[in-house]
Amino acid sequence: MKDLKTAGQATDLPEFPMQRACPYEPPEGYAALREQSPLTVVTLFDGRPAWVVTSHALARELFTDERLSSDWTNPRFPVTSPARGALQKHNVMVGMDRPEHGHYRKMVIPSFTVKRMNRLRPRLQAIVDERLDAMLAAGPPADFVESVAVPVPSIAICELLGVPYADHEYFESETRKLVIRTSGEIAASALANLRAYLDKLIAVKEAEPGEGLVDDLIADQLHQGRIDRETLVKLCTIMLTAGHETTANVISLGLLALLRHPEQFDALRDDPDLVPGAVEEMLRYLSIAEVVSRVATADFEVHGRRIRAGDAVFFTNSAVNRDPDAFPDPDVFDVRRAPRLHTGFGYGVHQCVGQNLARAELDIVFRAVATRLPRGLRLAVPFEEVKAKGPAGPQGIIDLPLTW
């Protein structure tokens, strides 16, 4: 039976992760990997061989397998670019295993329940309306990323956390440096800056409490001795960064996909109640969280392969969510598909904690896009000029120039 060493001896191992050619399509090489086997071997930037999961059934099985660890402090935890190393000490919740993971996850989930998100909807609606009004009033051309896609989730997470939106330019640009990961030094300094920013904010809030999840965490966890200050800073940094950059990518890529599939855009315009299903289809089809990393902590067999402790394992969501065994005609963008079991938010105990905030934001944004934007809406530049972000972080586009 092949293990990573024997399977990895081939000289022509594909490099991983691959770059998207089209901003909303998975890299072309991922389908070929899946056709080879649900579990194949690739090589990382540093020459390290790694397992890649590309089938939906196997992904669901392994996402819940506790022999695959999220522990970022494990020296064998794999990184997909030199800059990822900076994140490794940043290991609260998302970089932890059970039961430690649950201790921190339980501190934040009360703020993200379906009920809480429903109560937030009128405020989210007001934020979306305000941004769209401003974009329409200013007239064409407009950059949809700057006018809607980034500010909507950013304002929403600020209000939920109790972070002043006035600081948005600073934390948005530092977050972008962190996730785009052009170099290890840039990512490390961006992370240090974000932490220093939140550390200061926590100090201000300790002296003068406000309203929001950060204030709740200070009162209920920090001051009760359930979390130390450094860990609280890390936790708040994760909530702030994960809370805006991800959803922004789905908003901008989702609109790009609609503009490229006018019959699908028309379907939403004719029946905006298709939007919740269309949002699930965007999460599947766009799979902006393309790669999720794990390290094996035990030897075990799966699919005729032997995984050993210390092996790197990557879930490739954009391949998993285009698996024809799970989604018929997987490469067709169909707003009526309303897929339920996509892994766009991951699967297993780390499945996105902000998913119902993201769903509410996306629902309100795309209802407004379907009902309020002029029919003549189109790209203001040739499609070929809309460039995908690099392969290491969340997938998205830098700008989306529109005219109407």
């Binding site: 339980k106 379906v114 009920k115 079991l341 105990v349 499945q351 998913q355 119902n356």
Partner: protein
């Protein structure tokens, strides 16, 4: 159909509430709360969807 949930495993993703809001709710602490442990026939399909969607495998089905 009998439904049981494991609040110790639950990670509060709310997928069960989205799939079967007549059967599942979330407590103020974010973890799953059953509205009924023996849902009527017309809810069975939704409950099966909730079982499949639950990321932490916290929902189990028993016999009649």
């Amino acid at each position: 159909m009998r439904v049981t949930t494991d609040t110790g495993r639950c990670v509060g993703a709310g997928q069960c509430v989205l799939a079967a809001p007549e059967v599942f709710d979330q407590d103020d602490d974010g973890t799953v709360a059953l509205l009924t442990d023996s849902p009527p026939d017309e809810e069975h399909e939704n409950v099966l969807e909730a079982v499949q969607r639950c990321p932490s495998l916290s929902i189990a089905l028993g016999g009649a």
